[in-house]
């Protein structure tokens, strides 16, 4: 006889599997650690409440992402929303730090810090697709499903987001390649 998991066990599994991913996604969208933690709680609670009506295990991931995106939208439309900048300290690249960072692995991490800072400057719509597609490694098809739009619209948005990102990088004069060489 097959034993069925309780909803509480399913919730625990969902949190183990996707908790950190959800938290990171939401942080990228709301730019605030406390708010990201609050909204992540709401995402899992909402998922828990809907577990009985959820049947297809293979789409747990996109289902959670959709809940997360909608929670972020609700938050940003709420009266409580204020433009808050990242409360997490993203490590500053001091000259000393640069000189010390000679190993390729460390340099890679520095690149990502710099990239994080720039991505955070993108408008929400663009930031959202960049994070979903690259950082969270979702396919265009999956993102289209989550955002309830067409794949063409996602391709278009990714194209525009990359252009905007490139413009921001140019403006900030971020030169990874120089640092790498």
């Amino acid at each position: 006889m097959e034993l069925h998991k309780t909803n509480e066990a399913k919730l625990e599994w969902l949190m183990d599997e996707y908790g950190r991913r959800m938290l990171h996604l939401i942080f990228f969208l709301v730019k605030n650690k406390e708010v990201a933690e609050d909204l992540t709680q709401e995402v899992f609670l909402k998922a828990y409440r809907s577990l009985d009506s959820f049947r297809n295990e293979s789409t747990h991931k996109t289902w959670l992402y959709r809940i997360a995106i909608n929670e972020v939208k609700k938050y940003q439309r709420s009266w409580n929303y204020r433009k808050i900048f990242a409360s997490i300290k993203i490590i500053e690249l001091s000259d000393q730090h640069r000189q010390d960072s000679v190993e390729p692995q460390v340099i890679n991490e520095m690149d990502k810090e710099e990239m994080t800072r720039i991505i955070m400057k993108l408008p929400l719509n663009y930031r959202q697709v960049i994070i979903l597609h690259y950082y969270q490694e979702l396919s265009v098809e999956e993102i289209a499903g989550i955002l309830e739009t067409s794949q063409g619209a996602i391709h278009n948005k990714l194209y525009r987001a990359r252009n905007k990102l490139r413009a921001l990088l140019d403006r900030e004069e971020v030169v990874w390649t120089l640092r790498r060489n």
């Binding site: 940003q76 690149d111 067409s150």
Partner: protein, 456 residues
């Protein structure tokens, strides 16, 4: 730099130091678990349930003082709430900016008529522009035609204290998301009256869609929504009277008022001097340091002694300190005449420095032809008949196709769809004439600029 390559390296799985302080902690997990179980069983059973779950139970005991508010998601909870927002689906840079800045107000007001559910999901209003976002969901088995904006009939009545309607232009733009989901944005702008007194921050909006696609509504797609402008939009609002006056080419230009909001900045002017010059007056604009020219639009009303002119442009940024207005004259003038169609021809009326004459009107089965000529209009700009229209008694207007009767003459034929000759109609004609600016412009005023402060 290969951005695509860099982004592909930027993956959750490979992330190193970045976001390292952001962990899905055991405390967070326990808090979620507690709330979930409490929702299900109630507080009294919590301790017992927690003991049965290994790992989590230990953490529950370790974390004390975990507080939460089960209603912390804001005002849009519940399964009946539309899960997507029209502004989000609409994907417009300008609207995205307003959303990003918290200047839009969320709604979740659904109305269903004949199976088609229309939800008002967002409203943006800044004192000048109003955008209303709708999400339209069609039934899964929808067999009807596509929903197109041409067939969206908004009947929007924005009332201030129940009696004032201040919006003139209405347009609906539509985006198809999939076969059953559409997003529509109804766009309004205060236009025309040249008197734009600030509106209250809170008022009522009455909306009705009378036709969506090919479906005639039965009066159910109707809303009455209270609206309060968000603080983020209010912060842009400014009205003040700068003490600025300038003289230019026999005209005196006085800046009466500056009105600023998130989308639009308007400058209201009173201009006195010769009417023919006031009618030709135009403006270019540039930023305070004069490095960046940008487009402005004007709205004007002339009387015999003065002109009221509103110059407006898209608000560029909140902190913009001043604007340089550069007056210039149009090098062409426009004049119009309205000729009532009668039974006797020719009919002649003055136009510009000559006249317009209708020689004949032919009411044919498939079209109506108006044969007319322009007489003794000097400096007439060839091929520059600005418009010719037939206006019916009940108000409908028909645009005419101009067919020159003779290339070398000033005789023309305007072709319209067939109309009933018994119906009272008139023929409106506008022409452009070239203006010799050397006769009206003073050399010393050539590069005049008027500096207008944009903050009190």
């Amino acid at each position: 730099m290969d951005l695509e390559k860099e982004l592909k390296e930027y993956r959750y799985e490979k992330q190193g130091k970045i976001l390292r302080e952001l962990d899905f902690t055991q405390g967070l997990k326990v808090s979620i678990y507690q709330r979930a179980v409490q929702q299900k069983k109630g507080r009294r059973q919590m301790a017992m349930i927690a003991k049965t779950v290994s790992g989590i139970a230990v953490a529950v005991a370790l974390t004390t003082g975990v507080t939460y508010n089960s209603d912390s998601t804001g005002g849009l909870n519940g399964s009946s709430v539309e899960s997507v927002f029209a502004f989000e689906l609409y994907d417009d840079d300008k609207i995205d900016k307003y959303v990003e800045q918290g200047m839009t107000v969320p709604y979740a007001e659904s109305r269903t008529d004949q199976g088609v559910t229309v939800t008002v999901t967002d409203i943006y209003y800044d004192g000048e522009e109003m955008f209303i976002g709708y999400v339209i969901r069609l039934p899964e088995n929808w067999k009807g035609s596509e929903i197109v904006s041409k067939k969206w009939n908004p009947n929007t009545n924005i009332t201030i204290n129940d009696d004032t309607s201040v919006f003139r232009s209405v347009r609906v733009d539509m985006k198809k998301v999939n076969d059953n989901l559409y997003a529509a944005v109804e766009k309004h702008r205060r236009e025309g009256p040249l008197v734009k007194e600030p509106l209250p921050d809170s008022f009522k909006i009455k909306l009705e869609a009378t036709e969506i696609g090919n479906i005639k509504g039965t009066g159910k797609w109707k809303w009455e929504l209270p609206f309060t402008m968000p603080k983020e939009a209010q912060e842009y609002l400014q009205t003040f009277e700068p003490n600025v006056k300038a003289a230019w080419n026999d005209l005196s230009i006085q800046v009466d008022k500056v009105l600023k909001n998130a989308s639009t900045t308007s400058v209201f002017l009173t201009v006195e001097g010769p009417k023919e010059k006031r009618e030709l007056l135009q403006f270019n604009a540039s930023s305070e340091n004069s490095t960046e020219a940008f487009q402005v639009k004007t709205e004007r009303r002339h009387d015999e002694t003065s002109s009221k002119i509103e110059v407006w442009w898209d608000t560029r940024h909140k902190e913009e300190r001043a604007l340089l207005l550069k007056p210039y004259f149009f090098d062409f003038a426009r004049d119009s005449v309205d000729l009532e169609l009668e039974n006797k021809y020719p009919i002649e009326k003055p136009l510009a420095d000559g006249s317009a004459v209708i020689n004949k009107v032919e009411y044919l089965a498939e079209k109506t032809l108006v044969h007319y000529e322009l007489k003794q209009i000097t400096n007439y700009l060839d091929h520059n008949i600005y418009s010719n229209e037939l206006r019916h008694e009940e108000g409908s207007q028909l645009k005419g196709k101009i067919v020159p009767s003779n290339k070398n003459s000033m005789q023309f034929t305007a072709e319209f769809p067939a109309i009933d000759p018994k119906q009272k109609s008139s023929f409106d004609l506008s022409v452009n004439t070239k203006v010799d600016l050397s006769k009206i412009e003073k050399k010393e005023d050539k590069n005049k600029t008027i500096s207008i402060p944009l903050h009190p």
